[in-house]
């Protein structure tokens, strides 16, 4: 597998391929967005897949201070979502805890030259020295990629934004915080519609919060949101203006034999993703990945254990805060494989058809190009075989929370704390 490894200055907080897979955007804790671009395939070496190189870097969000509430607003980018490409420019939405921004990323590879009143360096000429007129022409220049904020959607969220999702109509999008979901039009920044509100009249009765939300990939009226109680609600915007009443409720009954102090925490869903087909959705809770058929609400159709060996360590994970880590999950382009991250810089893939799974590690040692990643195994208890890693020697500071899969090819992006790895599967 060929790899790219890029080290970012700040902790990576989100990773997202665009619709064609040519661009990969990362957001970090410092409010910056770094975009990588896949090289066009080299016609001569036809089996050499394009590598990813830095394409553009810009500061999306800055830290702010809310004077009214005496709160600092972090500049950390929580989510990035690409718009489908409509013209030469690319557009993406990036959000921090409070503000969503629409960025236009455009290339400039020509510039006008031959002005009558200006020198090439910009200084104005003395008009009296102009004796002839000419028409400025475009001449090639070094490629410059510019990012400019085109819309700023602010002041609509009291709580921390955790999700944004672009509708399949490509005109509207939703943003979700802990208690509310708002619907925006991409062109309109001064107002949004509130479509879900689970804030209780008395905050003391609060029992659950919204943890993630996503529009259906094909039905522009359908979206889902997940909760900290492990439930997913599917809502239809045609039913009513305020979608507090769900159309479907997906919930699996808790296994009473697994009850502990921390049952509620580990059942909290950290990510929800529709399959590309729109027939299934996947949820990630602390220990497992579940695949749900949208037609069956009472239980998932598939459940994959990510790191079941941690179940006996929940108390320690609570103490060191790891139990609150929010892992994401993703589908491959054909919806046949799902991927999610774990600790010790491990990430896991589950093949839904063969039911096989694999654990791989993203580390510098594996980073030589063309290195084939070796599968890893964690030994939960008992005798540790050679090459296995015992649970106690896992590094819980090295966690992979964000992963992304190219929409068409077997290329994956995996983010460790500060490093971005891109792995490609060479089929040829």
């Amino acid at each position: 597998m060929a790899t790219l490894m890029a080290t970012l200055q700040y902790i990576i907080s989100t990773v997202e391929f665009n619709h064609s897979g040519e661009l990969l955007a990362t957001g970090d804790k410092g409010g910056r967005v770094v975009i990588f671009q896949q090289e066009q395939e080299n016609k001569i070496q036809s089996h050499s897949r394009g590598e990813y190189n830095v394409y553009s870097t810009f500061q999306s969000h800055e830290p702010e201070f809310d004077y009214l509430k005496s709160l600092e607003i972090e500049e950390k980018i929580n989510k990035i979502r690409w718009l489908p490409q409509k013209n030469a420019a690319q557009f993406l939405l990036s959000t921090n805890d409070k503000t969503i921004k629409l960025w236009k990323i455009s290339e400039r590879d020509k510039r006008p030259e031959g002005y009558n009143l200006k020198e090439e360096d910009g200084r104005y000429r003395d008009p009296t020295t102009v004796t002839t007129l000419r028409v400025p022409v475009f001449r090639p220049m070094d490629l410059m990629v510019e990012a400019s904020p085109r819309r700023i959607f602010a002041n609509a969220h009291t709580y921390h934004i955790n999700s944004i999702s672009i509708n399949s109509d490509y005109e509207t999008y939703l943003s979700a915080d802990d208690l509310r979901i708002n619907l925006w039009h991409l062109e309109i920044t001064d107002r949004s519609f509130n479509i879900v509100d689970i804030k209780p009249a008395n905050m003391e009765e609060l029992t659950e919060v919204i943890t993630a939300a996503e529009f259906h990939p094909n039905s522009c009226n359908t979206f889902v949101y997940s909760s900290s109680k492990g439930t997913i609600r599917l809502c239809d915007m045609r039913a009513s203006a305020l979608c507090d009443r769900h159309s479907k409720l997906f919930e699996e009954p808790e296994d009473p034999s697994n009850r502990s102090f921390f049952s509620e925490i580990i059942s909290s869903i950290s990510d929800v993703k529709f399959s590309h087909s729109g027939r299934y959705m996947m949820t990630r809770d602390y220990l497992s990945v579940k695949i749900w058929d949208l037609n069956m609400e009472n239980r998932p159709v598939e459940t994959y254990q990510v790191h079941e060996y941690l179940r006996s360590k929940l108390c320690s994970l609570y103490e060191n805060d790891c139990i609150f880590d929010k892992f994401e999950c993703c589908w491959n382009g054909s919806d046949s494989v799902v991927m999610t991250g774990s600790y010790n810089n491990f990430f896991r893939m589950f093949d839904r058809n063969t039911k096989r799974d694999i654990t791989l590690e993203a580390s510098r040692e594996n980073n030589k190009p063309r290195t084939v990643l070796k599968p890893r195994k964690v030994c939960a208890s008992g005798k540790r075989k050679k090459d296995e890693i015992s649970v106690d020697s896992l590094d819980f500071n090295k966690k992979i929370l964000h992963t992304a899969w190219h929409p068409k090819e077997n290329i994956i992006a995996v983010a460790t704390t500060n490093n971005l790895y891109i792995f490609q599967d060479k089929v040829n």
Partner: protein, 323 residues
């Protein structure tokens, strides 16, 4: 009994997290605090529903392993009373579950406190003083994370900073004069340590005065605002903290947790704690005298999270104040 110790420990850790969240950048995270409050509530219920409120203090061996410790092998034979437990081996993992009879000392610990604990562990023979120091050190350790966590708590606390488990059970928190060791019962020890306060007093009312035996190592890193080791260390920090916001209530009550008087409180004020035992969040409010809630309710700015979280804390702190 293990349930109670574990529950006590979890309550302490949870309160520490809630306190730390107030100083975290970006404001209070509603989701995390909600989850912590749920854990707090579960632990509190277990704590209160345990049928032997006093027995845990006597540390009977051979108690059954709690069902919550899923998958965890049963702890080794409990150390007898009076023996300092051997320092736990340092490992990448903190001890996941406490040994039986080990005190419910929170392991949300920072390296800076290691010396205190180590010194405390060392004083094996001077049990009475050692326990007083240990409990106080334990209390300070609980306080410690709040100071050191200012500006960005949230990094894994347990990771590689594990140090020996708190060596002393919470049964001798205030360094009471010897002689009680073998006569522990459910009867309150308040008469030897505390001045009872009328229920519903204002917070600055006479706090319990616990003479604490101090050793050389007992007062390493005190909490900010704590006076230099003096005669009434509990008094001043408690008063200062209680007059501040709800976080202070947390601090005061963490201290009280460590002193292990909670069980006594419960047994004495059985009916007054009905609010604690109610599952619904609104339960404790009616019991509260309200003075503790005032500062929290009026604190500006932190609107996202205060109430559901403090809902759980108020009954505790109010009860302690009442006591």
């Amino acid at each position: 009994m293990e349930f109670k110790l574990e529950a006590h420990r979890i309550v302490s850790i949870s309160l520490g997290k809630i306190y730390n969240s107030r100083v975290q950048r970006g404001g209070i995270k509603l989701h995390k605090n909600l989850l912590v409050s749920l854990v707090l509530r579960s632990a509190r219920q277990v704590y209160l529903s345990d049928p032997c409120p006093g027995l845990y203090l006597a540390g009977h061996p051979g108690t059954p392993a709690p069902p919550q410790q899923l998958g965890e092998p049963a702890a080794g034979p409990p150390a007898g009373w009076g023996e300092p437990p051997p320092p736990a081996a340092r490992s990448a993992w903190p001890e996941p579950e406490p040994q039986p009879e080990r005190p419910a000392v929170p392991e949300v610990l920072r390296t800076g406190d290691a010396e205190t604990a180590a010194a405390v562990t060392g004083t094996g023979d001077a049990l009475q003083g050692g326990e007083g120091e240990a409990a106080e050190a334990a209390w300070r350790r609980v306080e410690g994370p709040r100071e050191t966590a200012a500006g960005g708590a949230g990094g894994p606390a347990g990771g590689s900073d594990v140090f020996p488990e708190g060596p002393r059970p919470a049964r001798r928190p205030c360094g009471c004069p010897p002689g009680d060791e073998d006569t522990l019962s459910a009867a309150p020890r308040m008469d030897c340590c505390h001045t009872p306060r009328p229920a519903g007093d204002q917070p600055p009312a006479t706090p319990p005065v616990c003479p604490r035996k101090r050793g050389a190592a007992g007062v390493g890193s005190g909490p900010a605002g704590c006076p230099a080791p003096g005669s009434t260390p509990l008094k001043k920090p408690r008063r200062n903290l209680e007059e501040q916001s709800g976080g202070a209530a947390v601090a005061a009550e963490e201290e009280e947790m460590e002193t292990g008087n909670v069980a006594n409180l419960i047994s004495i004020f059985g009916s007054s704690f009905s609010g604690l035992l109610r599952k619904s969040p609104g339960g404790g409010r009616e019991e509260a005298e309200g003075e503790e809630t005032g500062p929290e309710a009026t604190e500006p700015g932190q609107i996202c999270c205060d109430k559901p979280v403090l809902r759980d804390i108020n009954p505790w702190s109010t009860a302690i104040v009442a006591f």
